[in-house]
Amino acid sequence: MRTFDYHAVGSAAEALDLLAQYGEDAHLMAGGTSLMLMMEQGLIQPGHVVGLRSANELRGIGASSGGIEIRALTTHREVERSSHVRDYCPTLVEAFERIATIRIRNQATIGGNLVHADPAQDPPPILLALDAEVVIQSKIGERTVPLDGFFRDYFETVVEEGELLASVRLPAIVAGTKSTYVKFLPRTEDDYATLSVGAALRLGADGSCEHVRVALGSAAPTPIRARKVEAALQGQRLTGPMIDEAAELVRDEVDPLDDVRGSAKYKREMARVWTGRALRSLLDGGGK
């Protein structure tokens, strides 16, 4: 690994000043779990690393207009153990518990996870299913973007040079909405998903589908929403067979990659299977 100058900053403003000063030669570090490996492999070789660890304003979980706000530097373990998050949505806790191992969850952060933008990561599908937004800061100001649209490509997001991700905001959950996260991994429990699905569903008094979200991980160059599946179900009185039929549509929405966790063909098929199972479990009164 090439060595670098490490700048420990105490605030987001300080970090943004350093990003402006060193431009392309600067890189942010949160938990460092992915960045260390990428630097080790020579994939990223910054001359200046801006360490966010002591920027306490970027850490923590709080209420935000009926929903919650999870600031960027919050570790996965903190999310998983937060009673605030559990009260807001137990499915979110379950999804974070599925990330790698406790060792990784103690060090890695939600902001680092989203900006790293590996499509196999666990938080994005469930955060997409819950309509998360992210707050991005720069020296000019702040912008809020929906997570749906945040990911551009493999390891690429809309966060530009000179910007940092400050927090993730989740809106209030309408009463009666159930959600689930399924991580399919045929190898070992601590592995990345071969395919994962985050889903949310709310049925009206007459049993029709008032609200539905389906998002997938490991299914395309970025985490994705399965809009065709959602559109096929919205407003319908749902039945199991109808869900199976809608789940077929996901095959055209995914664009998986062949890798050690399965061939593209297999993942496409698993996307259909697990989309169907996730939605059926919600229809059958499962989920949280």
Binding site: M1, R2, T3, F4, D5, Y6, A8, M29, G32, T33, M36, L37, M39, E40, V49, G51, R53, R77, A100, T101, I102, R103, I104, N106, Q107, E189, D190
Partner: protein, 142 residues
């Protein structure tokens, strides 16, 4: 200290504390598990600069050189919780963190917590047995 130095290098090379092992170097195997302010992390993924101002516990610090060993270490010996020993410091640090967090874990809780600590020798049964024995009070110095 160079900024790119990892905690595992600081411990093993800088401080000569070779009890912490390096297996995979990519955060997966758990051989390098240490506790930073009580939280278990992979020393191969953590920049050494991160531990400035923190308390780092390694296998060397669990018991004084003249003994006694901790009940957990004693149980690993009694119950055959290791064979070649390369994974053992990491197993013991992880299990130490577990028993502090949850002094009376169920077998499933032990397995869940220890999931990220790989062992090529024991087949895991003896490791789980050792930890449950320590949790039941065995191995305390008499």
């Amino acid at each position: 200290m160079p900024a790119h130095r990892r905690l595992v290098d600081l411990l093993r090379e800088g401080l000569g504390l070779t009890g912490t092992k390096e297996g995979c170097s990519v955060g997966v195997c758990g051989a390098c598990a240490v506790l930073v302010d009580g939280d278990m992390v992979s020393a191969c993924l953590m920049p050494a600069i991160f531990v400035d101002g923190t308390s780092v516990e390694t296998i060397e610090g669990l018991s004084p050189p003249e003994g006694p060993l901790t009940p957990l270490q004693e149980c690993f010996i009694r119950h055959g919780g290791f064979q070649c020993g390369i994974c053992t410091p990491g197993q013991i640090m992880a299990a130490t963190a577990l028993l502090r967090d949850n002094p009376h874990p169920t077998e499933l809780e032990v397995k869940r917590w220890m999931m990220g600590n790989l062992c090529r020798c024991t087949g895991y049964y003896k490791i789980v047995e050792s930890i449950l024995a320590a949790a039941s009070g065995e191995g305390a110095p008499s």
